[in-house]
């Protein structure tokens, strides 16, 4: 049985995400550190969503 209500099945829109971001406490992280994190996350996601045999680190 699918437990997700029909109205909640769709992905959140960018407007929804903006609202959710606004509910998170503001952080004091500097822009450079945030950019480093975004780059790291992008690279990890690209690597971890590759087929397993093509990953740079198969332990993850």
């Amino acid at each position: 049985m699918d437990v997700t209500p029909q109205e909640d099945k769709d992905s959140l829109s960018e407007l929804d995400w903006q609202r959710l971001r606004s509910l998170a406490p503001a952080t004091t992280v500097d822009a450079q550190r945030k950019m480093r994190l975004e780059n790291l996350v992008s690279s990890v996601i690209q690597d971890m969503t590759k087929p397993r045999s093509n990953r740079s680190d198969d332990d993850q």
């Binding site: 049985m1 959140l12 959710l20 971001r21 992280v29 790291l40 990890v44 996601i45 971890m48 993850q60």
Partner: protein, 253 residues
């Protein structure tokens, strides 16, 4: 977006902020379809801890995945190398919804997440309302069924062993339970254990077996389901009459 969901969301974001975990909410990256991943927790000396949630999530999944990734932050072994990453995708979400995990880290994160999202009082209330259905609990809680399943697992770990309840079986349940059990496996083992507790129309049902049936009803289709449902319907009547599962399952004498 209901107030219940938004409150859960805000609470999780507060936990992340307090812990110093950066959040990348509704994140997407070039070359990767956002539907191919759900969430990611990383911890690296150059960036500190961070959690990214895919832009393709719906609200319930976003809450559960954020809680799960935070679970890594709180349960990951600090003696491991400093750079760590755990990714969540649709495939392992589906497995978790059926109570299956491959790695201990993921199990620990799920247990942490479920307990963070669902307080003991809330769990007692929802289990009393819907003792036999994890799906109904999840619907009421406005969370994915995985959250209810892992909250139940967390409860099982803290509960003393040997709790038993007495169920009066109707004719249908007696017939279903007396059907021959062929082969070996999880269903067969469970049904054989339940059969051992049956004497005529009286069934002494172990709490562990009740919990197992409840999980199987989430992930099983077909013949075994009909047997579980027949037993569950009788158990449900007795549980409601006792005032809920906490009052119904008592230490075995």
């Amino acid at each position: 977006m209901t107030s219940k969901s938004l409150k859960r969301w805000q609470d999780l974001c507060q936990v992340a902020a307090h812990r110093g975990v950066q959040l990348l909410l509704g994140f997407s990256t070039p070359l990767v379809d956002p539907r191919h991943w759900d969430g990611l927790w990383v911890n690296h000396p150059a960036t500190g801890a961070g959690i990214a949630l895919s832009s393709a999530l719906n609200l319930q999944s976003a809450i559960w995945v954020l809680a799960h990734e935070l679970g890594h932050e709180f349960t990951c072994d600090p003696s491991l190398p400093a750079a760590k990453a755990h990714i969540t995708n649709e495939e392992n979400q589906k497995r978790w919804g059926q109570g299956r995990v491959r790695e201990r880290d993921e199990e620990q994160a799920n247990l942490w997440a479920a307990q963070e999202l669902i307080t003991p009082d809330e769990w007692r209330q929802v289990e009393k309302m819907f003792p036999a259905s994890l799906q109904d609990m999840a619907r009421f809680l406005e969370l994915p069924v995985a959250a209810a399943l892992w909250r139940a697992r967390a409860e099982q770990q803290q509960r003393p062993a040997g709790l038993v309840g007495t169920v009066s079986l109707d004719t249908k349940a007696q017939v279903m339970l007396s059907k021959p059990i062929k082969g070996e496996g999880g269903h067969q083992n469970l049904l054989r254990r339940i059969q051992l507790g049956q004497k005529g129309k009286v069934l002494r049902l172990q709490r562990e077996d009740f919990d197992r049936m409840r999980e199987y009803l989430v992930k099983t289709r077909g013949g075994y389901c009909a047997r579980y449902r027949a037993i569950m319907e009788c158990a449900l009547e007795a549980i409601h009459a006792a005032g809920g599962p906490l009052a119904f399952f008592r230490p075995s004498r």
